[in-house]
């Protein structure tokens, strides 16, 4: 079933699935009042992100593809809050702008939505995340959506959320065991909608995760470790997001150690290769050009 779906070209691009499920989540949270975001705020995020995408594409002379901008907008609408319109508009523009401005080796460095969240929370007090504000129902919906994506695209890049969540859960449970805390404490921490959304819809972005399977595993595990340390040893409420930004900075190093062909949206699914390749060699599928348009 998953294979028959993902073999269709339209379904092969996970962004379609992301747009559909993130919109559904946002709509659900909106109706139930779980998310405090106004229609105007959501609109400006989308407008700012799409406008930036169009301008950026024009500047590097490619055809604008708004699907990524839309995914980014939806992530921001789900995770970032402000009591004015401009901080969210700025976040949308920063997110997509970072794809064009901050590049290395022909690809953008940061996950766009993550970059905007980190920039806005570190640099201004005007926007903030609300990690605790997801009820169990929304959390469950997010988990379901994430799991659905994993099943549909299991052979592509979605080993990342599982490794990330696995390592993070192991750290939390290990901490509880060491402290002698009841397991209800790590479970409470794991029942967090922002965490699930982060795992399935942000850190798993194929464009900003290493292409080599081993490098990707280290990337996901490292992000979990960094998030844990920032949250529990440095008491940063937004440690999760800072951790991903940190790992994105380290990503070129991981890619250098474990090179692999660059992922393109709509790539056919293939099983991950778990071998370190010290020399650059092509994996099972056909070679890909190194330079990818910013999408």
């Amino acid at each position: 079933m998953a294979f028959s779906l993902s073999s269709h070209p339209w379904f092969r691009d996970p962004r379609h699935y992301q747009i559909a499920t993130l919109s559904a989540l946002l709509g659900y949270g909106w109706i139930t009042g779980a998310f405090e975001i106004e229609a105007a705020q959501f609109t400006v995020i989308v407008l700012a992100a799409c406008a930036t995408q169009i301008i950026g594409s024009f500047l590097i002379a490619t055809r604008p593809d708004l699907r990524s901008a839309l995914v980014t907008s939806l992530s921001l609408a789900l995770l970032l809050r402000a009591d004015a319109v401009w901080p969210l508009a700025l976040a949308g523009a920063l997110a997509v702008g970072s794809k064009f401005a901050l590049r290395l080796n022909g690809t953008h460095i940061f996950n766009p939505a993550n970059f905007a969240i980190v920039a806005m929370t570190l640099a201004t007090g005007a926007a903030w995340t609300t990690p605790g504000q997801w009820g169990t129902a929304v959390w469950f919906a997010a988990l379901l959506a994430g799991a659905g994506m994993f099943v549909t695209y299991r052979a592509a890049r979605f080993d990342v959320p599982l490794i990330f969540l696995g390592v993070f859960a192991a750290l939390l449970i290990g901490r509880a065991l060491w402290l002698g805390d009841p397991l209800s404490i790590p479970l409470l921490r794991l029942q967090n909608g922002a965490l699930i959304l982060f795992a399935f819809f942000m850190i798993s972005d194929p464009k900003t995760t290493p292409d080599g399977a081993l490098a990707r595993a280290i990337f996901a595990g490292g992000a979990a470790l960094a998030a844990y340390v920032m949250t529990f040893h440095f008491f940063m409420a937004d440690g999760l997001f800072y951790a991903l930004a940190l790992l994105c900075i380290l990503r070129p190093l991981l890619e250098w150690a474990n090179p692999a062909p660059r992922y393109q949206w709509g790539d056919a699914v293939k099983p991950p290769q778990w071998k370190f390749r010290m020399r650059r060699s092509q994996s099972s599928s056909e070679p890909r050009p190194r330079i990818a348009p910013a999408e």
């Binding site: 209800s184 921490r189 967090n192 409420a237």
Partner: protein
Amino acid sequence: MKRSLKKALIGVAAGVSAIALTGGAVAFCGFYVAKADTKLFNKASKVAIMRDGERTVITMANDYQGELKEFAMVIPVPVVLEEGQIHVTENAILDHLDAYTAPRLVEYFDEDPCQRFEYRELQSAAPVAEDEVIVTAARKRDSLGVTVEAEYTVGEYDIQILSAEESGGLATWLKQNGYRLPDSAESTLGSYIKQGTKFFVAKVNLETQSETGLKYLRPLQIAFESPKFMLPIRLGTVNADGKQELFVFALTRSGRIETTNYRTVKLPTGMDIPVYVKNEFGSFYKDMFHEQVKKENERAVFLEYAWDMNWCDPCAADPLTQAELRELGVYWVGGDSASQPQRPQRTIQPQAQDVFVTRLHVSYDAEHFPEDLMFKETGDRSNYQGRYVLRHPYQGDSQCEAAKTYRAGLPKRFEQEAQTLANLTGWEIDDIRAKMNAGEQFFETPQKDPWWKRLWGGDEKEG
């Protein structure tokens, strides 16, 4: 007095095992401890937190109604506190903060419908206070792998700052020193110790207490710097008898605070409710709160107030003066010239004072709140208040057409209010209707008209 106390202590020390240390209830941050036979009643804990960067001032009020002797409290703190970092303040300031932020009733009187509708705001009110139980203990001296980092007497409290290597030692030390400790507290203590937490024991010094001439205990304050923005509630849930109520008043610069590991939910606000609630606002508020707690599966923290400290609308009480704010740790206001109290106006424009107040209310137990409350400060400065509206119907006998329409509409409006009230509080709708009928909001219980009454245009206009 002093002598008799000493005697009592010695007696207790000699016969710790003989004392009937029954029960073992606790309070928010720590244990309230008192003699076994003393029936204590902790209505609700109130904690004010000033937070700016890592600077933190916590003011803890014990709504402690038992006998003052043998009272003691054990509180986890992130750092070893020096004498100057501990302070005792007046209850009145926290009471003022409580009143200022309390959910409020607003009363309007309908004007003569033949004139114009114009609502006049008349009055506001403020309730609050809940239940909860307490404990037991005695006292004795000894030491056991536990370092007493410092000992001070601050106001009516004898303070000891403890650090311990492991929970067993601390538990034994506390027990040997006569503090009643539920067995299950040991693992919680162990968790805190491994996280580098120090402990702070406050005991009432009856001698200085009697000098204050007060019948109650004044709030204790601690000032420290720590990246941890949290309130320890776990010790308070150990072996607690039922749920505990906690009010948190946060004073910050940038905006509202919220919990990061639990949902922070706004209490429903702005509803029209029957006017008789004016006399039952306390029970209304309490039942409404508990109803909302149930709706959120008992896992939410409730936002009751979020406002810029400069003003209020309507005001349940005047905003706090600069001197009061400073006392609560808001170090950036007032300063040298703080002595002249700024005259707060009612319903008036903000002046730059830069203090944002958040009031959170949580009803917690170990099952639903296994972890301490972790907070974060947001940039949200939008105002929120718990506000409930009473609309008195017009009582005159004007006869114009508008008055007829107005009167015809009243039963429907009353019914609406009754439904709202029943929804909010879980009260029986029939009781509500009966009470409304007995007051000034009488309405015929809505009976369904026979279907044919509406068939040819006959309607209830004349009702």
